[in-house]
Symmetry: C2
């Protein structure tokens, strides 16, 4: 999840809570802490980019879950629509407007209506389970 | 996701949108359609059971995603706290109160505060990807 703050600086984090809410209109949800370094920007600008990461992107997933002042050090991102940071090599990106924010205790659930997006490099899915990154397994 | 309607009948569905919102207090979120057969009950009773399914439960996952009038035909569930339906063999169950509901278009995002739960039978994780059930793969 990435956004652009009002001073033009990129912010973002690796989200594990992304879920589909609807297909028509295209809506997605995610959760974050109100103490997250990205929340003031998302709350103020109401615009986010959702970057879908595949197995080849797992080092980027680690960087974006690391110290927040280092998450955009490197060439693993570029400016997309409206200057929103897009992760280079993501399997897909979607850009949209925050249409609902519901604070609950010290956290917030967020709904985004997607208005633009594209597929990127095909890749195998990247999973996160018990603090490690994993591949998708066999069909049952 | 299961609930008990005001006439004492079980309702529920297989959710793929379950996400953690917070650890303290324990909060989880999920999404559903306002047209879902389970929504009127969840909206009225504000109590749900979250049944975590493992690989051994994948036939139950299919049943609970099938025709809603057949989802509780069988011995794959039993009454739990407050009569809430619990799936037999689930890897864990959690029961809680719906503390926030935010409708967006024809859908709703829901936050649940967990007040009771227990671990069940250990099992491998059950994944759902591109309309099929999958195992968890290797660590990257």
């Amino acid at each position: 999840m990435t956004a652009l703050d009002e001073d033009g600086r990129p912010v973002g984090f690796t989200a594990t809570s992304l879920a589909s809410l609807a297909a028509v209109p295209p809506l997605a949800t995610f959760n974050m802490a109100l103490t997250s370094s990205s929340w003031p920007t998302i709350d103020a600008t109401r615009r986010v980019a959702i970057n879908m990461l595949g197995q080849d992107d797992y080092l980027v997933a680690r960087i974006m879950a690391g110290p927040n002042e280092q998450r955009f050090d490197g060439d693993h991102w570029e400016a997309g629509p409206g200057g929103l940071p897009l992760i280079v090599g993501a399997t897909a990106w979607m850009v949209g407007e925050v249409v609902a924010t519901t604070p609950v205790a010290n956290n917030v659930m967020i709904a985004v209506q997607i208005d633009q997006g594209a597929l990127g490099d095909p890749d195998e899915p990247l999973l996160y389970h018990e603090r490690s990154f994993r591949a998708l397994g066999a069909e049952l």
